[in-house]
């Protein structure tokens, strides 16, 4: 089926454009080459009636079909009005230049296709090519916005007939790209087809109010409303921090008071709130480490000041700007000298880089990654460390946002080389790394069978890389550690490792960087990493 797909299939009413065939997915090393269950669950008939799955049988957005012709017409008109805004320097000054450049200058040479882990992992499914989304958008622009003459459209192969289903498929397709931007990295013309995925998402969100509910309604909207996309309110934060302090005492015997709302502290530390609920050991490790190093830091309990996530970076410029402003205001209220981002890739990129051209005046507070600070402390010897405590195989996952999109590559490596005797790299790594498969909001998107897709397809290349990195110790008898200094990546690893039964079959645990540092601290009587909590 994959070889016969063409652009016209996107306009074909009914049916499904592509079918993910498990036999075509790239092979994984044994014993993962023989999965017992089908990689991606089929939707029920009831689900199919309720949510459009006509792209590939998978649902991330899940649009409900229109009830009437009028509804369909209004939907299309609203989309086209939004498309015009995408090319307006009023409505889209934020990304107009890279958008226009990519649409006008991509020569569809397909050099980017082989750089895309989703495309390759899927067995080269035509619909997942990085050039497919821009091609659809380009054709819609040619036919409906520029209204080019039919003969010219024929000459340029830029014609398309759109209906509701074309647009529903386009919306879904925008959520089959993790925005890892490997495709952009190899483009000799400076085009960025991943950006087009984001621009399509933006059009649907900013114009139509359409986005996966985990990202918008339960994500950025909830964060702005109650303080965190996790649903954690400021009072709940206090309770969790008390719990964390007790945990620290239980594990280490140390009484550490986590500073909250400390006015005039040197540094506001912004964590992804997912850590508070899913990986409290990361917060505990930060508290132990910073306390031992004598750093003057604080957390904020202001609305959203304790949740570093900014899902807007994946789909909506307005939501992005709102969250960035809230974070900056929280820091300003405390009068801190700088903001340090905890182990969360997209929060790094959002607050340090992208928000850079949103935050002006007194909200333009210096912002940095926590990793160089950790490196300085580790390499200076301010905290005594014993590498033999980490004498197990460790590999490093490079979060795309922190590495390829920010250039923070070597500090984390220098730390691991100092504290992990069995550290080994994945291939490729650094700025050429592969995405975990959960990027751009995928790790939090739990809709129907989407988690299956991200484990089986978008995360497959990373799974293969991890297994290859530990190929000298493949069995579960040797405990191994994937260091992932990113909350979203950890979320993806949690789900993907469970999907493949990684702990049982291979004995691989995932966790952050600071946990490894604290695990090596000589002041701690017991190991900090608890393998039983896999």
């Amino acid at each position: 089926m994959k070889n016969k797909i063409n652009i016209d299939d996107f306009s074909r009413p009914g049916g499904q454009v592509a079918e993910i065939d498990p036999a075509e997915l790239i092979p994984l090393p044994p014993p993962y080459d023989r999965m017992e269950k089908p990689p991606i669950r089929k939707l029920t008939d009831e689900q199919r009636k309720r949510m459009d799955a006509s792209l590939d049988g998978v649902v991330a957005v899940g649009l409900t079909p229109p009830a009437s012709m009028e509804e369909e017409k209004a939907f299309i008109e609203k989309f086209l009005a939004g498309l015009e805004k995408l090319f307006s320097d009023q409505d889209n000054w934020t990304f107009l230049q890279p958008l226009v450049h990519t649409l006008e200058y991509c020569v569809k040479c397909q050099i980017c296709s082989d750089a895309c882990p989703a495309y390759i992992s899927s067995g080269r499914q035509e619909i997942y090519r990085p050039t497919m989304r821009p091609e659809l958008l380009r054709r819609i622009v040619s036919t409906y916005i520029k209204k080019e003459h039919p003969l010219l459209r024929k000459f340029k192969a830029s014609n398309i007939d759109i209906n509701w289903q074309t647009l529903a498929r386009l919306a879904e397709l925008a959520y089959r790209c993790t925005l890892c931007r490997r495709c952009a990295q190899v483009c000799l013309l400076g085009c960025d087809n991943a950006l087009i995925s984001r621009e399509i998402r933006k059009l649907f969100s900013q114009q139509m109010g359409i986005a996966p509910k985990e990202i918008h309604e339960k994500g950025s909207v909830q964060q702005i409303r109650i303080g965190s996309s996790t649903g954690m309110t400021p009072p709940a934060l206090r309770n969790i921090l008390e719990f964390i302090e007790e945990e620290i005492e239980e594990k280490t015997g140390q009484k550490i008071k986590i500073p909250v709302d400390k006015k005039g502290a040197d540094m506001l530390l912004l964590h992804n709130a997912g850590e508070f609920l899913a990986w409290p050991e990361n917060l505990e490790a930060f508290a132990i480490f910073l306390d031992a190093a004598g750093v003057d830091w604080t957390l904020s309990s202001e609305l959203a000041g304790y949740d570093a996530v900014n899902y807007g970076v994946w789909y909506d410029d307005v939501q992005f700007a709102r969250v960035a402003l809230i974070h900056a205001k929280a820091a300003k209220a405390l009068g801190v000298r700088k903001i340090s981002m905890g182990e969360c890739g997209h929060a790094h990129k959002a607050m340090i880089v992208i928000a850079d051209r949103i935050l002006t005046g007194d909200l333009n507070i210096p912002r940095e990654s926590c990793i160089p600070l950790m490196e300085e402390i580790v390499l200076s010897g301010r905290v005594k460390l014993d590498p033999s405590r980490n004498n197990f195989p460790v590999t490093l996952h490079d979060p795309c946002n922190m590495v390829r999109l920010m250039g923070i590559v070597s500090p984390q490596r220098r730390i691991l080389e100092k504290i992990c005797p069995q550290f080994r790299e994945m291939t490729p790594h650094g700025v050429e790394n592969y995405c975990c498969g959960g990027g751009s909001g995928f790790a939090i998107t739990q809709s129907t069978n989407f988690p299956d897709w991200r484990s089986a397809v978008s995360g497959r290349m990373k799974m293969k890389q991890i297994l290859d990195a530990f190929q000298d110790v493949p069995g579960p008898e040797v405990k191994k550690y994937v260091c992932a200094p990113c909350s979203n990546c950890k979320g993806q690893f949690r789900d993907m490792f469970e999907y493949y039964g990684i702990w049982e079959k291979s004995g691989i645990l995932y966790g952050g960087l600071v946990e490894l540092i604290v695990n090596a601290m000589v002041d701690l009587k017991k190991p900090f990493i608890q393998w039983e909590w896999h």
Binding site: W93, H101, L188, Q206, V221, L359, P366
Partner: protein
């Protein structure tokens, strides 16, 4: 005929320069965008592994060394090498590179012909047996650039449609315009190749043609050379309708998008520009975006109306 060639050539050059200028100006005129850098950033100190100034603690207090010349050379290098294609699709590269070299060298050849004509007006004899060393050097450079242009251009124009049809990915996205271009460029380069090999092995006629152009004296040329020159002029007029501006815009995209890591420091010119952009009105219709507000307003008090209402 000679006068017609002169007029057509001037029209072609004025047209291509004007349209390219308008296109590049339009590209540059677009407002500054949100940062969207991608590493490695070549002007960075640690570009070899993709490191950035964010690797330093309190980076804003440290110098940010920047090597712009390295960036420029890096971005120009790929016009002559196309390394990513060599690594990832060698068969395609085998035709694509010559095809592109054909463009670069035929333009270079004509530009050099112009300078050669100027030198000839100034009394320089350009010939293999010229009494002036400069004239001999000029002669061989012209022969080399012209020869490379005709040979690589012809080879590339034959190979490109073949690979475009043979490769599944390329075929899916191919358009009739691609094949028209391949055919037309083949005719352009092929006519030049034939004229060179059969009639004018020293490329003397091109020097005469350019001499005629700058002295406004219609040259007497062989019909085969005339045919090639007319086709080349049409080629110049056709180019702006293709994506050929990418020779220039790809470098702009590198410098102004991919490698744009300029931080927005307090009090900077960039901060002032951004302040202006935040005042622009948004008209998006999503329910979470208030109508008729500016970016700054939508992102602050207006943006929280929905949240307050739902409490």
């Amino acid at each position: 005929m000679g006068a017609l060639i002169i007029v057509l050539t001037y029209i072609a050059y004025v047209f291509i320069v004007a349209v390219y200028t308008v296109k590049v100006a339009a590209w540059l005129k677009m407002p500054p965008h949100i940062r969207w850098d991608l590493y490695p950033v070549i002007h960075e100190e640690h570009y070899r592994y993709g490191g950035s100034y964010y690797e330093q603690q309190e980076w804003w207090t440290k110098p940010r060394p920047r090597n712009t010349l390295r960036s420029l050379l890096y971005s120009l290098k790929d016009n002559f090498y196309m390394g990513e294609y060599f690594e990832r699709n060698r068969l395609y590269w085998l035709f694509l590179l010559p095809w592109h070299l054909g463009f670069i060298f035929i333009i270079t050849f004509h530009v050099l012909c112009f300078f050669a004509a100027v030198a000839m007006v100034g009394g320089l004899d350009i010939d293999a047996a010229s009494p002036h060393v400069a004239g001999q050097i000029f002669y061989y450079i012209l022969l080399l650039t012209g020869g490379i242009a005709f040979v690589t251009g012809t080879f590339g124009s034959i190979g490109m449609p073949i690979i475009r049809l043979a490769d599944r990915g390329l075929r899916t996205y191919a358009m009739p315009m691609n094949f028209f271009s391949y055919f037309f460029f083949l005719v352009v380069y092929g006519s030049g190749l034939l004229a060179w090999l059969i009639l004018d092995p020293t490329l003397d006629e091109y020097r005469a043609y350019w001499l005629g152009l700058i002295t406004l004296t219609p040259p007497a040329l062989h019909p085969m050379t005339v045919l090639h020159i007319v086709l080349f002029d049409i080629f110049l007029i056709y180019l702006p309708f293709t994506r050929s501006t990418h020779y220039i815009t790809r470098i702009l995209a590198y410098f102004f998008i991919r490698w744009d890591d300029e931080p927005n420091l307090p009090g900077s010119d960039l901060e002032r520009k951004i302040g202006g952009l935040l005042g622009r009105k948004v008209s998006w219709e999503g329910k979470h975006i208030p109508a008729g507000k500016s970016w700054a307003e939508a992102a602050t008090e207006s943006g929280l109306v929905e949240a307050k209402k739902d409490k």
